[in-house]
Symmetry: C2
């Protein structure tokens, strides 16, 4: 591969035609919710990842605390052990994914990985918020990167946005809803009138809260994420003692009622901002947010991060903030960057032709709901004639309005129809026929209707 | 620099302490709205960009069509010429930024740049949508990258999100509002009841629409962006003839009225999605969108892109879709990646300590509005006593409610106050004093209020 007759970049750009991907062996520490998601989704989208990165990312070894426990995914038993040093000792493993959580064993594992010159991918916000300064210093010393997209806001690529997408901006402020557990609890208190205790119980039953929910409901999980976002934005490590943290466990349902009367709802909001002197405040606490603001409508386990950059202005990033699949999407993104960097020295940027899972659909075959407004003669039988032309092409009418207040006295009126799913080609055919009806005046007005179902 | 006693990556990680940035000379083609923004903002945030990338990105030469025209920014006259070949001929220039638009001269310039092994950064969506396949093939052949974040959705880093952040996902669908001009016009028609002609005139007066608005209002600008997003997502070039495009110029104000009555508004929506057979439809057309959906609330010149990935689920990216500063933020992001790749072979990913523009603020000095709910004795003079304690610490009351319907018969009642901006330390002091009042029962409930002003 290194003897290919073109530069690394040119190779990358030619990848799809000439692909002979190099295998990158990874060691996975932790096979809980997110770990199982990484294992499962790396495999499910392997073909795509190979095309897009030029690397075949293979889990070689998995370590878990309790080997005997049942798992969400089937992993060959000879790949699994309970000794994290096994990942370090395996010389073939180039990347270690730390998903065991906590700040003790995880810290030892990450330090050992860096010293062994293995790239680290982690989703551990507590570890980075508490010991990030030491760990990044060690990474510097060892010349090995740490990737941590999954540490903040689940599937939302907010770390990359701050590091790269908005790299030219001074960050003026960040407002984030970055703990899905608390947002689920507050949403249920607000919308269903549940007490805190009942909302927490429901969150636990649905898997949105842990058996011991302390780290989440105390506000500290969100605060750890805020520390990471603030440190990235302002270029110095925010000391934990400078962060104001309050949990959601003391909020009374009465506060939601009063807040609503005042035009607000209550969110666990993390706020990062600098004043005009450059003094940076970092806080995570229950906060009254105006009902009219987009952050007020971020519901359930969703997360949102509102970033204000001095050049770009306000930007909002919204998505699932927790859960097996969304968080594993971020871990896999980091793995792809780690793998491409190991194989090619850089990540591909450009257009990667692969055509793996799609080809173009003829326009006339596309299916949609439609809106149709006609100006018609104000006489009996018009609807029947229009409906007949639609029915001939199997296009159903889902609703109809013929508004009296818009009728005029010129013997014509409006007829507005909402049409069921129809092929564009059929709609065009029906329109030609309808246009030709003598009861139809002028040009029909018609538009697609986006139901946004299933998207 | 290449003789430094550590690897490239370790150098990158050590950058801030040892920074001796290399200068990357760029050639800027076009000094219109976005070009002037790039020139201005590269200079304004130079210190930050040097720290974050390890490269000092300098505009060495600018080409414009008409040298005599007045500009938004002052560029030394000896840097400016009208012959684009000057950028190619200058051996020191390593990156060419193409912001002249159109598909003829821009095409010649990009081809010449690639052949001269110069990295290309472009914001030209028409060029990529129409001739992307040829250009990326030439980039492959020449082994030089093309970056194009600014081509879609202004300041929103949606290209990077698709290429990197969601790299492990098969994209199921994308729904985008990606033309600020049309969205401004439709927003004004919907909210102010303007006719299409009046809304267009207003958009032109405010600088949201060009003197010749055809490319925008025909839907083709958004369609070009949709072609780029679809091609990136599905890994093959979408032929223009397979894209269904309609403009906003035929929408009647009556349609807004009917749409609203049916629970919808009208947006120029670009839709990309694959059906179960992998057939991909790409369309840009005025579309009825449910009022309850977040896309219905994207107003004015803002853009939003809703991406549904098979692993990550639904994610939304929202921000300013056009304009000098937001679009230049994306060009600068591309320039940073181009520069870091030229200098170090890869972009830095990790934590870059610089402390250039911030330090921690003591928690008690943070200023905010507050909400305060007290349970108090139902007797005269209570409000005066509470207000006195607040006033002592210069904390003003902005509103008060004492709801009758929540009073009980036990001789106590609720008192809810909204407080003006106050330091947290002062609020804590006031709370201690209020807690000690004999008319106050139980523990006060208090929360920050986020006005989201100026953010």
């Amino acid at each position: 591969m290194t003897s290919a007759p073109f530069s690394i970049l040119s190779f990358l750009l030619l990848m799809p035609a000439t692909i002979t991907s190099r295998t990158i062996h990874i060691g996975l520490a932790g096979l809980g919710n997110v770990g199982a998601g990484v294992y499962k989704n790396l495999d499910a989208n392997r073909d795509l990842i190979v095309q897009r990165t030029g690397a075949d990312i293979r889990v070689k070894r998995v370590i878990v605390r309790d080997i005997s426990r049942a798992r969400d995914v089937e992993v060959p038993p000879d790949m699994v052990s309970s000794r994290w040093q096994d990942l370090i000792d395996d010389a073939e493993i180039e990347v270690i994914v730390e998903l065991i959580g906590g700040t003790t064993t995880a810290y030892d594992l990450v330090c050992a990985a860096l010293r062994a010159k293995k790239t680290v991918v982690t989703g551990n916000k507590a570890l980075l918020a508490e010991r990030g300064q030491e760990l990044f210093a060690l990474a510097e010393k060892c010349g090995v990167p740490i990737y941590f997209e999954a540490a903040v806001a689940g599937g939302i690529p907010i770390i990359q946005v701050l590091q790269e997408g908005l790299v030219g901006n001074r960050i003026l402020s960040i407002h984030g809803i970055i703990n899905g557990t608390c947002n689920y609890i507050l949403t249920r208190m607000s919308q269903a009138g549940l007490s805190y205790a009942d909302a927490l119980r429901e969150a636990q039953e649905k898997g949105y809260a842990e058996a011991d929910p302390t780290l989440d409901v105390s506000g500290w999980d969100a605060a750890h994420k805020a520390i990471i976002l603030a440190s990235l934005s302002y270029g110095f490590w925010i000391p934990q003692e400078c962060v104001h943290v309050e949990g959601v466990d003391k909020i009374d349902i009465a506060d939601f009622k009063f807040a609503k009367r005042l035009g607000y709802t209550i969110k666990l909001l993390s706020v990062i901002r600098a004043d005009e002197k450059g003094l940076v405040e970092v806080r995570t606490q229950p906060t009254l947010v105006p009902l009219s603001h987009v952050l007020a409508s971020v519901s359930g386990s969703f997360n949102a991060v509102l970033v204000n950059g001095d050049i770009v202005g306000e930007s909002l990033f919204y998505g699932r903030g927790a859960g097996q699949d969304p968080t594993s999407s971020s871990v896999i993104s980091d793995l792809c960057e780690a793998a491409a960097t190991l194989v090619y020295g850089a990540r591909h940027s450009g257009f990667v032709p692969h055509g793996l899972y799609g080809k173009s659909k003829p326009v006339d075959d596309t299916v949609s709901h439609y809106y149709l407004r006609l100006t018609v003669a104000d006489e009996p039988g018009v609807l029947a004639r229009v409906a007949t032309e639609l029915g001939r092409r199997s296009i159903g009418i889902s609703s109809m309005i013929q508004p009296e207040d818009l009728e005029d006295t010129s013997g014509q009126t409006s007829l507005v129809l909402m049409l069921h799913d129809a092929k564009l080609g059929d709609v065009k055919g029906a329109l030609d026929a309808i246009r030709a009806l003598d009861c139809v005046r002028g040009e029909p007005s018609w538009m697609r209707v986006e139901t946004l179902q299933g998207s």
